[in-house]
């Protein structure tokens, strides 16, 4: 799977406000954060974790194999390229507002070298059974391990739906926020395919939103039989007007495609139930798993 007991994390931008705050939360959750990187701050520590000037050092000295990036938008693509060249297997880019052309080049570079990128503009990945979190999800919500995977283009909506699932008695196997930007590393379709291959996962909740066609591509794969796990979906933005960005850079109905209604219809047409509201997700999932 994407993360496991052997995941050793380096945090890029570890001494910044966000980076240092979330580094501590990740440690508290149980994540093996082995190093931080902030150019110029090498030799110091943050929350007891050694800080280096480069990712290369963090990999060599601490054996880091995954990175979480909190570096400001102007420098974030550079940070991702550095992580790839240093040899990490997984990079999670939390940073929002990275220019899309920068993302395009950096993500393609990473993919060509077999590195999985989650994000940019994402909450990351959390796996309660192994207590590993690379991201910014609130720890309190992900305390109940279980068999459900949540794959989402949103942040807070992921927390909300995860919370509703746990309240309804489900446990979470993994939650992945793939990011709200137009171009991301692992997209909604690929992330769903990935979690579906895990034998521990019994059901998948997919949270889509307006913009792009990842939901449609996912529905097509499902119809072709490539995913043989039950899926319940929710799509945010039925009331979103065309041509306007709804908070996320990628949440925009453009060139006549990407509206929520057509995504919902596409899901339903291939037999994936779609919740009318986020609060209906647990009930639909329970019904589906009973079958």
């Amino acid at each position: 799977m994407l993360v496991g007991p052997n995941t050793k994390v380096v945090v890029q931008g570890a001494t910044g406000k966000e980076g240092s705050f979330h580094l501590q939360r990740m440690l508290e959750y149980g994540t093996k954060v082995v190093a931080g990187v902030t150019p110029g701050k090498g030799g110091t520590t943050v929350h007891g974790v050694p800080v280096y000037d480069t990712v290369e050092e963090a990999v060599k000295k601490q054996g880091a194999n995954a990175s979480v990036i909190f570096v400001p938008a102007k420098f974030a693509a550079d940070a991702l390229l550095e992580a790839v060249d240093a040899g990490v297997e997984l990079a999670v880019v939390i940073t929002e507002h990275i220019p899309v052309h920068d993302t395009l080049r950096a993500v393609n570079y990473a993919r060509a070298r077999g590195v999985t990128v989650i994000g940019p503009n994402c909450p990351g990945i959390v796996a309660p059974p192994v207590r590993v979190k690379l991201g910014i999800m609130p720890n309190s919500i992900y305390q109940t391990p279980g068999k459900i995977a949540v794959v989402s283009r949103s942040g807070t909506l992921t927390y909300e739906i995860s919370y509703q699932l746990v309240r309804a008695g489900f446990g979470i196997n993994v939650a992945i926020g793939v990011g709200g930007d137009p171009v991301v590393g692992l997209d909604l379709m690929e992330a769903t395919l990935k979690v579906a291959q895990d034998p521990e996962v019994e059901g998948i909740v997919v949270i889509g939103e307006v913009g792009g066609d990842a939901e449609e591509r996912l529905a097509k794969l499902y119809a072709e039989g490539a995913i043989n796990k039950p899926i319940v979906a929710y799509v945010a933005g039925r009331t979103a007007p065309p041509g306007k960005r709804m908070g996320h850079a990628g949440a925009i109905v453009m060139l006549g495609s990407g509206d929520a209604k057509s995504k919902i219809e596409t899901f339903r047409s291939v037999g994936i139930p779609v919740a009318e509201t986020p609060f209906e997700v647990p009930r639909l999932l329970a019904e589906l798993l009973k079958k």
């Binding site: 393609n108 942040g155 807070t156």
Partner: protein, 382 residues
């Protein structure tokens, strides 16, 4: 940032593409002068960044400088899809033999640049995709490889030109210029529609549209300046919200929406709609809902002309409910009270403290978002 046609054409011209002579005019007098200099007939084109200007009366042909003057008097100040016409682009009237379509976008799924080309154009790509999808050619360009001659050949021959002709050469140079603009200006869209073959046998972009990535504007200070001087499709509310650091989109209903996170805020809008209400806006305050941030957001909606009810939906594992409640209280205190109803649904730590603070100012706190949404819709109907 959406560029005006005249700005987009200036960029095309900078990259060596021949464009019809044109002048920007801000008054009927300037229109008269421009028409005289260019030579009539001329086309007066309203500079508003929406599609479908022509149908809305934003494009007119004038046969004399006097006619241009008179026509422009009616066009200045005109409302086109909610945008006021402040600038007219006066351009030489061109006799057209054939209209084509050419655009360049970023394809999310393949993570590549994508040219869309059609030998028929002049209408929206949506329209072409509906009526004659077989006419649209897709040419993908990998950013690590860049635009190659074979891409260009593929596009230009699809448009119907023959190698070795001057038209082939002109079309090829337009394809190359569009690609360079895309990369050099951090564009999300570069479009020429219609791309025209004139009666005189020249290939020229009759209209041009460019959208630049807002996140990359720091690399293009001249565009940042142009946006500041002319905010185009950004409403006053949207500009104000952006300054504070919110994501704000105007909608047309009467239930004001505040949420944290884009997905949750959209879901909140949908929830209101689901229970029969109409959202007035989308306001995402982003992560870390502090007292100050909540106060500013509530203030925005207290001043909103249509929002009768303000529905605040905050979900945070680490957000403190008392902070949010204090923000609401502060906003009400600064406004000196309000006739608007406020409904709050909040999930976070210190919920009891938050409830007590809100009770002081007569605002109900819901734990269940669906009940809160129903309440907000009900209050808007009163």
């Amino acid at each position: 940032m959406k560029l005006h046609e005249y700005e987009a054409k200036e960029l095309f011209s900078k990259y060596g593409v021949k464009i019809p002579p044109g002048r920007l005019a801000l008054t009927p007098e300037e229109v008269h002068k421009a028409a005289k200099e260019i030579g009539t007939p001329v086309v007066l084109k309203a500079q508003v960044v929406v599609a479908g200007r022509g149908k809305a009366g934003g494009i007119k042909v004038a046969n004399s400088p006097e006619e241009a003057y008179e026509l422009s008097k009616k066009m200045f100040g005109m409302d086109i899809k909610g945008l006021k016409v402040k600038k007219l682009y006066v351009t030489k009237y061109v006799e057209v033999e054939k209209e084509m379509y050419l655009s360049l976008i970023i394809d999310r799924a393949s993570r590549r640049y994508l040219f869309l080309a059609s030998p028929v154009g002049g209408v929206d790509i949506e329209e072409i995709a509906k009526t004659s999808p077989e006419k649209i050619k897709r040419v993908y360009v990998d950013p690590s490889v860049g635009l190659r001659d074979y891409h260009v050949r593929s596009i230009v021959s699809w448009l119907g030109f023959k190698p070795g002709t001057p038209q082939w050469q002109q079309a090829a140079s337009i394809v190359q210029a569009m690609y360079r603009i895309m990369v050099d200006y951090d564009a999300e869209l570069v479009e020429s529609n219609p791309l025209a073959l004139t009666k005189e046998g020249e290939v020229i972009p009759l209209d041009a549209r460019i959208i630049v990535d807002d996140n990359a504007l720091f690399r293009h200070p001249e565009l940042e300046k142009a946006l500041e001087e002319d905010p185009r499709d950004v409403t006053e509310f949207e500009a104000y919200a952006k300054k504070i650091g919110f994501h704000y989109v105007e909608l047309d209903g009467d239930v004001g929406i505040i949420g944290n996170g884009a997905g949750l805020t959209m879901a909140t809008m949908d929830l209101v709609y689901h229970f029969g209400g109409r959202p007035a806006n989308f306001l995402d305050i982003g992560g870390g809902a502090s007292r100050e941030v909540v106060k500013e957001a509530v203030k925005v909606l207290l001043n909103h002309p249509r929002a009768k009810v303000i529905f605040v939906n905050i979900f945070g594992g680490i957000t403190r409910a008392d902070e949010v409640a204090l923000g609401i209280k502060d906003a009400l205190a600064e406004a000196g009270g309000t006739t608007k109803k406020i409904v709050v649904r909040m999930k976070g730590t210190n919920e009891e403290l938050g409830r007590a603070i809100l009770a002081e100012v007569g605002v109900p706190l819901f734990e269940n978002a669906e009940e809160a949404a129903k309440k907000a819709v009900e209050l808007a109907r009163l």
